[in-house]
């Protein structure tokens, strides 16, 4: 596939816009000096990923990302920031002093993954097609029902664990 063919598809331009929003938002998540701004940039990145899922025809996953990640996880993060009294406003001590080794490691990981992906999947073209939510549900409740139950058990365990960890001991309070 030449670049001309690639640029001829309108879906690819939507992809470019979404990818720029996501990478820009992600960079601001890890570099922002303001913790609340970092969480809000994470919203931009997750919304971009929901757009990419719509582009790939994965509607149910896209709306799940909007509901669970943007709706619940981000609110949880904002509560966590408020409860732990993280420094609101601009804070210069949010990052380590030595950023360059970390940036070098991140670049090396990206280079390695990009290199191997380009070698093995260079010209594999995705056929567009929408996966219906009904098919997804049939597949979950027939073939993948045991992993589904395992995940629901994990969520229950996480719920109980969160309560146990976060609440104060009653005896501790009376003493």
């Amino acid at each position: 596939m030449t670049f001309g063919d690639w640029a001829g598809e309108p879906g690819n331009w939507v992809f470019v816009v979404l990818a720029l929003v996501m990478v820009g938002g992600a960079l601001r998540v890890v570099t922002s000096r303001n913790v609340v701004h970092a969480v809000l940039f994470l919203v931009a990145t997750l919304a971009g990923s929901a757009g990419i899922f719509l582009l790939l025809g994965a509607e149910f996953v896209a709306w799940t990302v909007v509901l669970v990640s943007i709706g619940a996880v981000v609110v949880l993060f904002l509560f966590g920031i408020m409860i732990t009294r993280a420094p609101l406003g601009y804070d210069t001590a949010l990052d380590h002093e030595r950023r360059w080794p970390a940036a070098l490691i991140a670049l090396a990981v990206f280079g390695l993954m990009a290199w191997s992906l380009l070698i093995f999947f260079e010209d594999r073209v995705i056929d567009e097609g929408v996966v219906r939510s009904a098919d997804l549900g049939t597949s979950i409740f027939e073939r993948y029902v045991i992993p589904f139950e395992v995940v629901s058990f994990l969520l229950l365990a996480a719920l109980i664990g969160g309560i146990v960890l976060a609440r104060r001991d009653p005896e501790e309070e009376t003493a």
Partner: protein, 101 residues
């Protein structure tokens, strides 16, 4: 659309997440960077699931599982950060060196 463009975007997000985990000092900011890495993994799963076009839609189903596990991870992680903050009045990962030899 090629599969490489989605995978390259996902690996860029993953690398940015690694940078965030290494460089941030506040534990909540570290969890935020982990959330970025989870988003990258979900993207990869859906892209390759669409490429292989299996009838069971396994890529999307495992993307849903990753989202669910990520939500559980954030809940537990924030509870632990809260507990650490209550005991030591700091959420700074540099100062948590109790188990450091």
């Amino acid at each position: 659309m090629t599969v490489v463009q989605f995978s390259l975007l996902a690996s860029a997000l993953f690398a940015i997440g690694i940078y965030g985990v290494l460089v941030r000092r506040n534990a909540i900011m570290v969890l935020l960077a982990v959330e970025l890495m989870l988003a990258a993994i979900t993207l990869n799963l859906v892209a390759f699931g669409t490429l292989f076009e299996d009838e069971l839609a396994s890529g999307q189903i495992f993307a849903l599982f990753v989202i669910a596990v990520g939500a559980a991870e954030v809940g537990i992680g924030l509870a632990i950060v809260l507990l650490v903050f209550r005991n030591r009045s700091t959420a700074n990962v540099d100062e948590l060196d109790l188990m450091k030899w």
